[in-house]
């Protein structure tokens, strides 16, 4: 079934491939090569949807991405909102409907893949119209590496809306030959369906390639649907063309009212007539071409209404030959119709000198019946990318548009993007730009013959007309729409200027004009013109609104590319991860690491599991996977000196075989990390960091080594993942270790606290361990380090060796409880970059002998010696069962007054303790150490929880349990 408005021949559609689609519930057909818009017009469907605010019927205004109205929702094959029908390529089975300005996001995951690709080139050409192709051909023949991108599925640019001849052949032959040559030239990359949407610094251009959208259901699952090209170009040629401008008049938004040039595109590119009977509203010569082409194609053209006082003589004569009534000095003052325009009102223009401000309407309006009104208000060069690149814009009062002014050194503009209209001028500009760009990159462009084109000098200059003058109706809403998508009218603009706004940026935000999907491509300049008229200023004195990327909407999925799910933020797991999973561990995210949080037995909740794990560590033996601990190998003659500067205590005096705990501060004296330092040799230390700070500490070391102390002979390298690290904790840990390390004397005197030993493990041939006698729980404990490769075997051997003692695997929550019972802070939990070692009660870890170290001088600052600084203390709720929420505030009143309430500090850690048989918390509290024994209050919900302030160490204050 052939569609009613499709011509029997013509257009660049594949008439052999009929495609079925459904729009607004109606089944229709189109051809491969159609857009959804052209297929709808071929079927006589002009009404797409309704407007966002007033619910007025809206249709199709343009043929490309500048279209302000044809928003559709795709339902099949995959739900996708807010696409313009003019940019959706038709495919078989497409199901879509028109949108009232808002769409619906898919409620199912997008199965498509998206990716990104880098390209580097000498010359990037944006646009494959005559200017762009000429530039690309010239640069490519000169040997430059060229990337050419074009938004459309077919090269040709503005030629697609014409029947021009080049070198006395239809333009398609020259274009196709040129494309074939470019494709065959090594070093040239030609990308169709690719929109350059952003220009950034240093020749960086982002472009979105729609690779499989047009295939619909046939899109192969393995191919990325869309790709973001990250192009770095030494030179850029922008041949981005021009957008036709509408003219604003009453009821200018009805379906069937379309830009004149776009109607030509539907005719010549798709073989589609926009209707049966047209009126053309012209302000320049180019709109006559639409009238003549449509008349030639068999459409009835009732009249050309030319706002200029006189019509161009030759064009008028040609119209007359087709029986087209040319009414010079007339304007369209309004339209009639419902879902489609049915008539236009035409009235004589009042002015006779041709200037816009002299035009008014005089005399009675005449009504002309039609179902199509084509409007040509002049052309706006597409300067978006040029402006983004840093080019300045200049207002050209002849064109009524902003044209490129001063270009950045590496950017050139060619074709109608400069304001040129003449085909031969566009070709010549393309050639020039291609030559200059190629020369600038060291290529030597050869002579490239310009294809001959029919000279078509305009007969008569255009008239710049933003709107047909007239008052808004008194008792009805204004229907003179400036931004059709935002339902913003002339009255809205005048309300903005009437409210005192004079900057276009302010008017834009006040009226929302230019903020829809089309970003004001057809409404921006008109708004500027109306504002200038209203304010009585020159448009050239108005700064246009900023052109920001993206030029056209870009799906977030495309920007994300493959950085989704696992690949967005990779999870790091330890060598023993599979064992934890099999054991049913729950995991906690620490940085990128997955750490076992606790290991519940069947039926256990978290509290029960953690109490059981804590009890095992305090009474028997427990094992933890601490492999995520940051580890840095620090080597070199000056390693000791270096660590002396980094840590608050003295590391150079540490003996080989011994371990020391250290605090690290910033120059401001605030604690930034802590950990153990073990001395492996005179010139070698192994430093551990908190899990989340490993990268930061290595960066910190590098920064000082490279920038301040490059004379020190020190090298630092991360060895975090080289080692599997297992704290073996509890009174029976010595027995378990002894069973596994028969060659190691584990006696308290032979292997004392804060010492380390290398030993062979009875696990398999060649399995050795470095065992450190350190404790983060206060219990007798050994930290067993083996190469990550042996991690699983050693872990299982430890579990087996400990079975007789009820060895219990434990996670980070139990680790936190055990250390909190001992008052050991976690950097980043108890601290927040405003906490000094003294605040933590850790002055014992700060050397008094060292001449200097990072942070030392700051400890003497008055601020750091205030007695009311927040200090780390313990809090015991009077009710032993109440667990305070972490982050809760601490106040010194038992009756909360109206805010503001003086806050003394906050709860940093809070747990239920098996050892203490009660709940407890750590907190930082003003003058905390002086308050030990006081009762303070913690607001929780609507009530206040009374708590007793204690020292931070709550368990085994004497340290009796350390040696087992």
């Amino acid at each position: 079934m052939s569609a009613a408005f499709r011509l029997p021949t013509g257009g660049h559609v594949d008439r052999g491939t009929e495609l079925r689609f459904t729009f607004n519930g109606r089944s229709m057909t189109g051809y491969r090569g159609d857009t959804l818009a052209s297929a709808l017009l071929a079927n006589g469907e002009h009404r797409i949807g309704t407007s966002v605010k007033f619910g007025r019927p809206r249709g199709i205004v343009a043929a490309g991405s500048e279209d302000p109205t044809s928003l559709v929702q795709i339902e099949q094959p995959f739900p996708e909102p807010m696409l313009t029908a003019t940019t959706v390529e038709l495919y078989d089975g497409l199901v879509a409907h028109g949108l009232p300005g808002r769409g619906r996001l898919a409620d199912e995951p997008d199965p498509a893949r998206y990716d990104a690709k880098h390209a580097h080139c000498d010359v990037l050409v944006v646009g494959t119209g005559p200017a762009g192709l000429m530039a690309a051909l010239t640069a490519a023949r000169g040997g430059a590496r060229v990337v050419v991108v074009d938004e459309q599925s077919r090269a040709g640019g503005a030629l697609l809306g014409t029947r021009e001849y080049l070198d006395e052949r239809p333009w398609t032959e020259w274009v196709d030959d040129t494309v074939a040559e470019l494709r065959g030239t090594p070093g040239v990359l030609l990308l169709e369906r690719t929109t350059a949407f952003g220009v950034y610094q240093d020749g960086f251009v982002l472009a979105l390639q729609r690779r499989t959208d047009h295939l619909g259901f046939d899109a192969p699952a393995h191919a990325a649907r869309q790709r973001v090209w990250r192009i770095r170009a030494a030179q850029t040629v922008l041949a981005t063309g021009a957008h036709e401008r509408p003219v604003v008049f009453a009821d200018n938004d009805r379906p069937g009212i379309m830009l004149a040039g776009s109607a030509r595109t539907y005719l010549h590119r798709y073989g589609v007539l926009p209707g049966t009977r047209a009126v053309v509203f012209a302000t320049d010569d180019s709109a006559y071409a639409a009238a003549l082409d449509l008349a030639n194609a068999g459409m009835e053209v009732a009249a050309v209404v030319d706002a200029r006082p006189t019509a161009p003589r030759l064009l008028r004569a040609r119209c007359c030959a087709h029986g087209i009534d040319v009414r010079a000095g007339h304007v369209v003052t309004g339209t009639e119709g419902g879902d489609r325009v049915s008539a236009v009102h035409v009235a004589p223009a009042a002015g006779s000198d041709g200037s816009a401000d002299a035009i008014g309407t005089a005399g009675a309006a005449d009504t002309i019946d039609c179902d199509t009104l084509l409007v040509g208000g002049g052309w706006n060069p597409v300067v978006h990318l040029f402006s983004q690149a840093g080019g300045t814009l200049r207002y050209d009062s002849r064109l009524g548009a902003h044209v490129p002014g001063q270009a950045p050194a590496t950017v050139r503009v060619a074709g109608s993007a400069t304001g040129a209209h003449d085909l031969s001028a566009c070709l010549r500009q393309g050639w020039e730009a291609g030559c200059e760009a190629a020369l600038a990159t060291g290529s030597r462009p050869d002579e490239v013959a310009l294809p001959a084109s029919e000279p078509r000098a305009g007969e008569q200059p255009g008239l710049v007309l933003w709107r047909v003058p007239g008052e808004a109706p008194r008792d009805a809403p204004d229907t003179r729409f400036v931004d059709l998508q935002r339902d913003a009218t002339v009255s809205d603009v005048l309300r903005a200027t009437g409210a005192g706004l004079s900057s276009l940026e302010h008017v834009k935000r006040y009226t929302t004009i230019g903020t829809a999907h089309d970003q004001g491509k057809t409404s921006g300049t008109i708004t500027a013109g109306i504002v200038a008229e209203a304010l009585g200023v020159e448009l050239s004195d108005q700064r246009p609104t900023t052109f920001r990327p993206p030029y056209t909407p870009v799906p977030f999925a495309a920007l994300a590319g493959r950085d989704r799910g696992e690949l967005h933020d990779p999870a790091r797991v330890t060598a023993v991860h599979a064992w934890h999973v099999a054991r049913g561990a729950l995991f906690e995210d620490v940085g990128q690491w997955k750490r076992p949080w606790y290991f519940p037995l069947p039926g256990e909740d978290m509290d029960t599991a953690v109490l059981r794990e804590c009890r095992a560590a305090r009474e028997g033996v427990a094992l933890m996977d601490g492999s995520t601990l940051g580890k840095i190998d620090v080597q070199g003659r000056d390693a000791g000196r270096f660590l002396d500067m980094l840590y608050t205590n003295k590391m150079s005096g540490l003996r080989v075989g011994r371990i020391r705990y250290g605090l690290m501060c910033g120059v401001d004296g605030m604690v930034i990390d802590d950990g153990t330092v073990i001395r492996l040799a005179e010139d070698r230390f192994l430093v551990t960091t908190t899990t989340g700070n490993a990268a930061m500490v290595l960066d910190w070391m590098e920064e000082w080594l490279q920038t301040e102390w490059p004379h020190l002979d020190v090298y630092a390298a991360s060895v975090t993942e080289h080692w599997a690290t297992f704290p073996l904790v509890g009174p029976r840990s010595r027995d378990v270790l002894a069973a596994l390390a028969p060659g190691l004397d584990v006696g308290n005197d032979a292997f004392e606290f804060m010492a380390w030993r290398d030993t062979v493990l009875d696990v398999g041939p060649g399995v050795t361990a470095r065992v450190c006698r350190i404790s983060f729980s206060g219990e007798l404990a050994y930290e067993i380090n083996v190469t990550a490769w042996h991690g699983p075997a050693v872990w299982e051997a430890l579990m087996a060796a400990g079975e007789a003692y009820g060895i219990t695997p434990y996670g980070t929550e139990t680790m936190h409880v055990l250390r909190a019972e001992k008052g050991y802070p976690i950097i980043g939990q108890e601290t927040d970059a405003t906490v000094t070692p003294q605040d933590l009660g850790m002055a014992w870890a700060v050397s008094k002998k060292k001449a200097d170290f990072l942070g030392k001088r700051s400890f003497d600052r008055a601020e750091n010696n205030r007695p009311d600084r927040k200090q780390l203390v313990g809090l015991l709720p009077l009710d032993r069962d109440v667990r305070l929420p972490e982050g809760a505030q601490v106040v010194d009143t038992d009756d909360l007054p109206e805010p503001p309430v003086r806050m003394l500090g906050h709860v940093t850690s809070s747990y239920r303790s098996a050892a203490l048989d009660r709940t407890f918390a750590l907190a930082v509290v003003r003058s905390g150490r002086e308050r030990v024994g006081e009762i303070l209050h913690v607001p929780v919900g609507d009530g206040l929880v009374p708590v007793t302030v204690t020292e931070s160490v709550l368990y085994d204050k004497e340290g009796a349990r350390r040696d087992g």
């Binding site: 950034y200 990250r230 590098e702 490279q706 490059p710 200097d852 001088r857 008055a862």
Partner: protein, 99 residues
């Protein structure tokens, strides 16, 4: 995405770099000899010029080397880059780099 010319690797995208604040602010030789005010000036105060500014940068996702750069804070243009320990290029040398 600006290109930053790492003096070790050549031009790389800015996302590979980490900013390190004002350059040529030496760690005081003897912090203990400074008044609180002098020390606070070193710890907390940095210049914020409108125009060329000598800064520290780290090629953190590349060679991991620190280097210095003179950058125009108005245009983001890097007027020169130089290795740690090398003197800040004076104005005339900078002009050469620019041209």
């Amino acid at each position: 995405m600006q290109l930053i010319p790492c003096p070790w690797c050549g031009p790389r995208e800015e996302a590979e770099f980490h900013y390190g604040g004002q350059a040529h602010v030496a760690y005081p030789e003897d912090p203990g000899a400074l008044t609180d005010q002098e020390w606070a000036r070193f710890v907390f105060f940095r210049d914020n010029p409108c125009g060329p500014f000598a800064e520290r940068w780290s090629h953190s996702a590349g060679c991991r080397r620190w280097f210095n750069a003179v950058r125009d804070t108005r245009t983001y243009e890097l007027l020169s880059v130089y290795r740690v320990g090398e003197p800040r290029p004076d104005a005339s040398e900078r002009d050469e780099v620019v041209s």
